[in-house]
């Protein structure tokens, strides 16, 4: 958020949106005609808070095919603005870091430091000069390289993009420079509890399972990463046979296919695993509630997450879970935000979410409040969770959440960039068109009875995991009532 803009809400339109595909781009720099009469009828219906049926959003037409070398290509024409977006995805996320935490993220970023035919300067100058952009980064499970540009610049930029993902050179001097700044960034990130709390939380829940790997690593591990390790990581996790590129925007499909194929000639396929097998294991949480208290000496507020196990991408109930979460903590009038913010003024915002990975996931409730209000706010959050189980959801609330989710769905896929991102996500997680096209149908299928079942099944009530970042001396005694307390200092390397 800009320093001179203050908003009603922290995260804009949909507060749960950030919980989709967990691929972070490292922030380097940065139809029908309506007559008034028809409308009147709609209004009358609305007065009774009926379930609304909006114009259905369907996935625009696209073509998907696989090259002889195994690379999957998606092409989707969109002509609203003269721009093209290309997104490539690789099974090269932080879950593959092993002992070298941060390796996946550094590899992804270092792709842009030079390739066989282009130096770092040439890449940067060409993209910048044309007003285009290029970024790369790794998340927990996958890595992405994304470019966007004005349509007439395809011939100038696609060869660079292709060379970067095929033949990066990982020049020693650039790697050393970036490592040194990276380590300073890790220190600086600890100035902001909200930007590191998820690292602590994931580690607390997943422990030794690689889903708990901090994407940007630790100072010690990043310090130790060598150029050979980056090259090794690239060779292992970036074969085209396991990758996908999505091209969305203002281009003509017909001549695009031949162009692409010329850059990705046939070569022997390498079969690799998309993800480590151990990620499929059930997450075992110790019995009883646990509290991780992270001390930050100069804190004037406590930032907290409370939660537990969540669900995986392929969970058949994921849409239903999203509806309930909307009510609990996924919109402005959600129960958490209503209790902690609107009714009590304890915080600027409270929310909940189910970040999901391919084989596992977490559930969290999140907020922050002045140090002196810590217990009041956490107690309130726990009461809200309890109420969800005890009272369940009534018809009126459910209808409202269904309308909200459906009404806010189309803007998520409004731009070519968002669609390119969607297509690579569908590839990586093996989703088909029904993920978009049946969304409304799945929302409509939800009932009050089903909600009750879902709450009991998926919303944690026991073995709650608490992560609190704040001034430990002032809250230690008060928060021990929530469970067994472990303490850390925010200055300690790692999470």
């Amino acid at each position: 958020m800009s320093k001179n803009l203050k908003c009603k809400m922290e995260d804009g339109r949909r507060i749960q949106k950030s919980d989709n595909l967990d691929v972070l781009i490292h922030p380097i720099i940065h139809s029908s005609i309506h007559t008034p009469k028809g409308i009147l009828w709609t209004i009358i219906l609305l007065m009774f808070l009926s379930s609304l049926s909006f114009a259905q959003f369907q996935l625009p037409e696209y073509e998907k095919y696989t090259l002889p070398n195994g690379l999957t290509v998606y092409l989707m024409e969109q002509h609203e603005v003269p721009l093209v977006y290309i997104n490539a995805i690789f099974p090269a996320g932080a879950v593959w870091d092993g002992e070298q935490s941060g390796l996946a993220a550094l590899t992804a970023e270092a792709l842009l430091f030079g390739s066989k035919d282009y130096t770092k300067d040439q890449i940067e100058q060409t993209f910048d000069f044309l007003g285009a952009s290029i970024s790369s980064g790794a998340g927990t499970e996958a890595a992405q390289v994304s470019i966007s540009f004005m349509k007439d610049d395809f011939e100038k930029l696609f060869p660079i993009f292709a060379d970067i993902i095929k033949n990066p050179t990982f020049p020693q001097i650039e790697i050393e420079k970036r490592k040194q700044r990276w380590i300073a960034e890790l220190d600086q990130a600890r100035e902001s509890p909200r930007s590191v709390i998820r690292n602590y939380f994931n580690k607390f829940i997943f422990r030794e399972m690689p889903y708990g790997n901090p994407i940007y690593g630790t100072k010690k591990s990043v310090e130790g990463i060598t150029v050979d390790e980056l090259r090794g990581f690239f060779n292992l996790h970036y074969p085209l046979s396991n990758a996908c590129i999505a091209i969305v925007g203002d281009f003509a499909n017909a001549n695009m296919k031949a162009k692409i194929e010329s850059f990705f000639p046939a070569m022997p396929k390498t079969e690799i695993a998309l993800l480590p097998d151990e990620l499929r294991n059930e997450v075992e949480l110790p019995s009883g509630n646990r509290v991780l208290l992270v001390n930050k000496d100069d804190s004037r507020e406590t930032t907290f997450m409370i939660g537990g196990k969540g669900v995986a991408w392929n969970n058949p109930d994921i849409v239903q879970i999203d509806i309930i979460n909307t009510i609990l903590g996924g919109r402005f009038t959600s129960w958490l935000n209503t209790e902690l913010r609107i009714n009590s003024g304890l915080t600027y915002g409270a929310r909940s979410g189910f970040p999901h990975y391919k084989y596992n996931g977490t559930f969290y409730a999140y907020s922050f409040t002045g140090t002196e209000n810590t217990v009041e706010a956490i107690d309130l959050a726990l009461q809200v969770l309890d109420r969800l189980h005890k009272e369940g959801i009534n018809q009126e609330t459910l209808t409202s959440a269904k309308n909200y989710i459906k009404g806010q769905f189309p803007p998520d896929y409004e731009t070519s960039g968002a669609l390119a991102d969607l297509l690579t996500t569908m590839f990586f997680y093996g989703l088909d068109d029904s993920y978009i096209n049946d969304f409304e149908k799945n929302v409509d299928a939800m009932t009050v009875e089903k909600a009750k079942e879902m709450i009991a099944k998926y919303f944690p009530r026991e073995n709650l995991q608490f992560v609190l970042i704040g001034k430990a001396d002032e809250i230690r005694d008060m928060v021990s009532k929530y469970g067994k307390v472990t303490e850390k200092s925010i200055e300690e390397d790692g999470f």
Partner: protein
């Protein structure tokens, strides 16, 4: 490279899928102006209300009240009481947010097109009949104090920003933070809010922009039905305070335990409606847009002196400042980072920019224009911003040309004129003041 330049110059009006004629506008009897842009790419609508009021309309004692007021606009009116606005909007598939800047307060509604009439009803109710419930005032006061505190908690730069701003300006209300000073947040009264409502929330002080899957006639009939009955108000008083010319460098130091120093520079520059705006805006891009920008390339990439660097030059009604901010790399002294940044500024003053560099930022501006026209929200925001800050939404379409006209000489001239030592304020935030 030349071919690209020509292409950009000549093909611009054809490339843009939205043209100036597509935007329709009408003015209601009470002075409310409404702009409509039909776009059926998704079955949704963005409806933005731009009120010409921000922290520049405040005075000591009520700093931050514009932003507080923005929050109170969600807390109950006549037909829709406390909590009803959000409840009804969300139940009808809509969501909203709002923001307050030094100049404007903007309310943003996003909803499926079928429910547009409900949104008109909700907005009309609060514009005309906002009610200040004492209990809601107190809980909202807590929310704002948390918003202020969490900003400072999570971002040392925000703390430095408040200090440098308060130092760079001596007279103009741009000197205080939009969120206000803590003691003002704790003490403003219901009466203050009522006065503010009467003064600034009249339809003649508001511009409405509606983009999305709508028809102009439909918007017109709803506007007439819901908005025309709202009485217009007297024109709010003009902000007549002119910031006096700065006569010498100012410095400020903030002590906070951070791993490496934070730096912030503020140079007084003209507002968006100034003729020099386009040159200054391009200068800002030359300094910081992209990895090949002057500051990023030199300070972050080559010299490794900072881990983050950037600039800001926001639209404003009155003369404002251009910001340069940086966070030092590990072990780098504030003094050395400051020196390196000033060297880059001095180099621009002495040597100007290259023609490739100028063409680069012009291309970037064109790309930004397309990005802003990609979404119904982007369109609504851009139309409103141009109408208010540049006096005419049509300038949105001439902007690429207005940028294209700027010469290397003009960029060097504005750099020489405004990026002087006497015209700047430098702020440093660090655990200890160096050399003390």
């Amino acid at each position: 490279m030349k071919k690209i330049i020509l292409l950009l110059l000549f093909s611009f009006p054809l490339l843009s899928q939205t043209s100036v004629e597509d935007i329709k506008s009408f003015t209601l009897e009470n002075g409310m102006r409404v702009f409509v842009l039909e776009d059926n790419s998704i079955p949704n609508v963005a409806m933005y209300f731009f009120y010409k009021v921000g922290s520049r309309n405040e005075y000591p004692g009520i700093t931050g009240i514009s932003h507080f007021f923005e929050h109170m606009m969600f807390n109950g009116a006549k037909k829709y009481g406390p909590k009803e606005f959000d409840r009804v909007m969300e139940a009808n598939g809509g969501s909203n947010n709002a923001y307050t800047s030094q100049n404007l307060t903007v309310y943003q509604d996003w909803f499926p097109n079928q429910t547009m009439e409900v949104m008109f009803d909700l907005e009309a109710d609060r514009i005309q009949y906002l009610n200040f419930d004492s209990i809601m005032i107190e809980s909202e006061r807590g929310v704002i104090l948390s918003e202020r505190s969490t900003g400072l908690e999570n971002d040392p730069m925000e703390e430095l920003w408040d200090e440098v701003q308060a130092t760079a300006f001596t007279a103009h209300p741009y000197m205080w933070p939009v969120i206000g000073w803590e003691s003002d947040i704790k003490n403003w009264t219901k009466q203050d809010l009522e006065n503010y409502f009467r003064t600034y929330y009249a339809p003649n002080n508001c511009v409405v922009v509606i983009t999305g899957d709508v028809k102009v006639d439909w918007v017109k009939s709803l506007s007439e039905k819901y908005f025309t009955t709202i009485p217009s108000g007297p024109k709010p008083r003009d902000i007549h305070t002119v910031e006096p010319e700065q006569k010498g460098e100012k410095r400020v130091f903030v002590k906070r335990d951070v791993p490496s120093p934070y730096l912030l520079f503020a140079y007084h520059v003209p507002q968006a409606s100034s003729e020099e705006y386009y040159a200054l805006d391009l200068l800002e891009s030359i300094l910081s847009a992209g990895r090949t920008s002057r500051l990023y390339k030199s300070i972050v990439d080559d010299k490794q002196l900072a881990i983050d660097i950037g600039t800001a030059y926001w639209h404003s009604f009155d003369p404002t400042v251009m910001w340069i901010y940086a966070i030092a790399n590990q072990g780098v002294k504030a003094e050395d980072l400051e020196k390196a940044i000033l060297e880059e500024v001095d180099k621009l003053i002495a040597e100007g920019v290259t023609s490739d560099e100028l063409q680069k930022v012009k291309n970037q501006k064109l790309m930004n224009f397309y990005h802003s026209m990609e979404t119904i929200s982007g369109k609504a925001n851009t139309i409103g911003s141009y109408e208010l800050f540049f006096g005419d939404y049509k300038k949105l379409f001439s902007a690429p040309e207005d940028y294209n006209r700027v010469t290397r000489e003009e960029i060097q001239q504005v750099t020489q004129k405004y990026f002087t030592q006497d015209n700047r304020t430098i702020g440093i935030l660090n655990a200890e003041e160096e050399g003390k």
